[in-house]
């Protein structure tokens, strides 16, 4: 594998087509931009023109949502080849994907679906990550999922499962703090204890986002990982705790639905940068 480059320990924003013009005109003080790989797999056109121009000015994270790393079937070789071309073209500071499956029996389901954590699924995930890192010639980050239910067959705690994957493959981890809150509330565990147990030394990036709240049929709180609002106060708090464990690390604000004006995203990024500054100060002190 080639030498590791990494994202700066700064705020990052998801790149939205409607903001590209303003970003190029104003070059706001943001640490990096992140894009979904699958949106840049066309041959040409405006998406590549914008991304090329923005990549010249900012560090870049490419985040895949379609590899189905947690699937039982072999990875889609065509998709892996498309990823390789994308990574070669833009040379991003980071490539990440999810601990989830999205393809089954040749059908792409367009959602990040849960898997039980067992020795057998661990072997699948490890094999797939080896294959991705081999195909891309670089280390990838794997993201913890948001869960709405628990699967009976799981024999590993999620934190240990992720740590074991990182240890066996050499991959890094993407800690999605909103996903931690969503899963903790939905599955009934303590998000702080989850963080205490998380293998922080592998974390190369953090994600933050807004969740929606509803209730299940028993009236229990059910949080939905919607990426459609500001980061919730309890997630900011949990992020602060995570930073005490990781130190300053590149942090993305994800806002993919009901996308607001760029100014509102920049305000969220400014909060991230303040917290990262505090984390640096703590480290020095």
């Amino acid at each position: 594998m080639t030498a590791t480059v990494s994202l700066p320990p700064r705020s990052g924003l998801g790149l939205k087509p409607e903001h590209c013009r303003a970003i190029l005109a104003e070059t706001p003080d943001v640490g990096f931009f992140e894009v979904h790989a699958e949106n840049y797999m066309g041959a040409g056109g405006p998406p590549h023109r914008w991304l090329t121009a923005i990549r010249e000015r900012y560090p870049l994270s490419i985040h895949g949502v379609g590899l189905s790393i947690g699937g039982g079937a072999p990875l889609d070789r065509d998709h892996l080849a498309r990823l390789r071309r994308l990574v070669d073209r833009y040379e991003p500071e980071s490539f990440s994907e999810h601990l989830a499956w999205s393809t089954h029996d040749g059908v792409f389901l367009n959602d990040l679906l849960p898997l039980p954590y067992t020795d057998a699924t661990l072997a699948d995930v490890v094999r797939h990550i080896d294959q991705v890192q081999e195909a891309l010639g670089r280390r990838m980050l794997l993201e913890n999922p948001s869960s709405y239910l628990a699967l009976e067959e799981s024999a590993w705690p999620e934190t240990d499962f992720l740590g074991e994957i990182a240890a066996r493959t050499g991959c890094g981890l993407l800690l999605d703090v909103n996903n931690v809150m969503v899963s903790a509330v939905n599955l009934g565990y303590d998000p702080v204890l989850y963080l205490e147990r998380f293998p922080m030394r592998h974390v190369g990036e953090i994600h933050l986002a807004g969740y929606d709240e509803t209730a299940d049929a028993d009236g229990a709180r059910l949080l939905i990982d919607s990426h459609a609002s500001r980061v919730r106060p309890d997630v900011w708090g949990l992020y602060g705790h995570a930073l005490r464990l990781t130190g300053p690390v590149a942090t993305l604000v994800e806002w993919d639905n009901d996308v607001p004006p760029l100014s509102e995203l920049l305000a969220e990024a400014a909060v991230v940068d303040r917290k990262l500054c505090e984390a640096s100060a703590r480290r020095v002190a």
Partner: protein, 257 residues
């Protein structure tokens, strides 16, 4: 040999909104499990419908959100994507619309959707510098009849008995439905730079452009234009097609395709 025997049941239950939830879900009562599993069901269904809505925004604007979602859900039931590359999924959606009795009153709808397929393909097509109009000037009149044009990767031609280009334009920013006159239209879609361009062609220009895009020699294409309309202006139509960015090169001699 499978690492999780429950995966097929999980995937199957996602596609069957009225069916039971898969076994092995830990959390609360069976009703709670149902409502929690419904989050995944909803994510899958709305994610795929949403992918179609972003590829067919004009179609969605014409029929409204509720109708579009109902129509798209039925398409998704029978035609799921086989690749994570959703930007190319849904080319069969226009033909599917034509099979729906509820959409029959909107005779133009499927052709508007076909134009949206052409527009999205042009949007993502490979980059190529368009042939500059002055390049035509250097060609001797005698050689012109045998010359052929090379189509730009983004160029698409769509013929419809409905005013699909005008309807599409009316739904762009600044457009107005009052601008639509009900007549047949042939639309040339190009993307010479970063912007999509739509050009409405006369029947003679359409015959000419279709022949050129199919790599026919200019003389043969011009004859088709004249056959469609005795007053067809070869020079003006050639300049218009090249200026629109539909071609990347001109070749003076070449084997028949």
């Amino acid at each position: 040999m499978t690492s999780w025997s429950g995966r097929s049941a999980f995937a199957g239950a996602l596609a069957d909104p009225d069916g039971p939830v898969p076994a092995g879900i830990l959390r609360g009562s069976s009703e709670a499990a149902q409502s929690r599993f419904a989050v995944y069901r909803n994510n899958v269904a709305s994610g795929l419908v949403g992918a179609l809505a972003s590829r067919f925004p004009v179609t969605a604007a014409i029929v409204g959100d509720a109708f579009f979602r109902a129509m798209a859900s039925r398409f998704v039931d029978g035609c799921k994507p086989t690749s994570p590359l959703l930007m190319t999924w849904g080319d069969e959606f226009p033909a599917f619309m034509e099979t729906l009795p509820a959409a029959a009153a909107l005779a133009y709808l499927a052709d508007v959707a076909r134009l949206e397929v052409a527009v999205s393909a042009a949007y993502h097509a490979a980059e190529a510098p368009p042939l500059p109009v002055p390049a035509l000037a250097g060609i001797e009149a005698a050689a012109l009849a045998e010359a052929r044009l090379v189509a730009h990767p983004a160029a698409r031609l769509l013929r419809s008995p409905h005013p699909v280009g005008s309807i599409w334009s009316a739904h762009q920013p600044g457009g107005s439905p009052a601008d639509v006159a009900f007549r047949a239209e042939t639309v040339l879609v190009t993307r010479p730079g970063a912007e999509i361009r739509l050009s409405l062609l006369t029947p003679a220009e359409a015959a000419f452009a279709a022949a050129l895009l199919a790599s026919k020699p200019l003389g043969e294409a011009a004859a088709l234009g004249v056959a469609a309309d005795g007053c067809f202006d070869f020079g003006q139509s050639l300049v218009a097609a090249v200026a629109g960015g539909a071609f990347t090169a001109i070749t003076l001699k070449g084997p028949d395709p």
